[in-house]
Amino acid sequence: VYIKRVEIYGFKSFARRSTVLNLDRGLVCITGPNGSGKSNILDAIAFALGENSVRSLRVDRLQSLIHDNGRGAMDGRSGEEGEGEDGLSAESKGDAGGDSSNSSRKRRAVKVSITFDNSDRGIPVDSNTVTIAREMYDNGENQYYLNGKHVNKSTITNLLDVVLATPSKLNIVQQGMVMRIAELNPEERRRIIEEII
């Protein structure tokens, strides 16, 4: 199992159009100037995997994850017009185009989807790839998708047990946090081994 593709829409500094990263096994380096959006890519992956802690997502509240390209101005329109291929699957195309026809105020603001290569069947789903997606609406509601089908969060959480090395997500090391792992006290270190077995 590894991450094959990440698709980001409207998450933090990523505009409301689809930005796609096609990945491979091995060592993938992400580089670029300060403030370009590198950490936001890792945040987007954590978000799709169900991360809800505002501290881990580095925002004051979840609504701040919604792309906002000027102080307070939700430039919704300019982000959606045509730039870049809108790789969102058909099930959400209807969403993007149909804002006006959708009577409730709910508008899809953010979507991140992750496609895992599952040829080794590491994830207990019988398909060569497994796609987990999370959408957040501007009213704060979330929806999760597994291979295109709407599921509730607990279905994803069971899958994640395989994907995340430890319940405390030790395989995701955020910016500035690496030294903390060497500063664990003896009980914390033991608990980490206990969590895994």
Binding site: T19, C29, A165, N171, N185
Partner: protein
């Protein structure tokens, strides 16, 4: 249960030793110790101390190392946990920030080796680490909006 824990402990300890020795070309060593006071305490309730000895320095507990030394120790412990349960991927965000050139090179070597068994996605600003990658994504902002560009490394490594 006791057996299960002690097997798991030995596996991680063995891996910690092997990773750290590889990173320091045999000049350093690291290991885990169970604080069971020489067998008098129950191993199911004792803590685990992480000892690290950098080349030509005395052995110290990981908590009293320097910033850069803690980074190397942390990655050693993290990767050693693979021996219990392999993680499908790692996401590392500028873990090399406080490393000098010697430790950056050590980190590059171990990450390069471990990435061959799975997937490591690493954000870094250092050319020396980017050069070790199989694939590079460049990220840049245009008017506050992030864009990404992929570079394939010529396979001729």
């Amino acid at each position: 249960k006791r057996q299960l824990f002690s097997d798991a402990f030995s596996r991680v300890d063995r891996e910690v030793r092997s990773i750290f020795t590889t990173m320091t070309d045999g000049a350093g060593s690291a290991w885990l110790e169970i604080d069971d006071d020489g067998g008098r305490e129950d191993i199911l309730s004792s803590g685990i101390t992480f000892m690290v000895q950098f080349p030509s320095k005395p052995a110290r507990e990981s908590n009293s190392l320097s910033g850069g030394e803690k980074t190397i120790a942390a990655i050693t412990f993290l990767l050693a946990l693979q021996s219990l349960k392999p993680a499908p991927f790692y996401l590392f965000d500028e873990i090399d920030a406080h490393l000098d050139s010697v430790n950056t090179e050590r980190l590059g070597r171990i990450v390069r080796e471990r990435a061959d068994r799975g997937q490591i996605i690493m954000v870094t600003l250092k050319d020396a680490l980017v050069a070790a990658a199989d694939m590079i994504y460049g990220v840049y902002a245009r008017d506050g909006v992030s864009q990404v560009v992929r570079y394939r490394i010529p396979i001729a490594r």
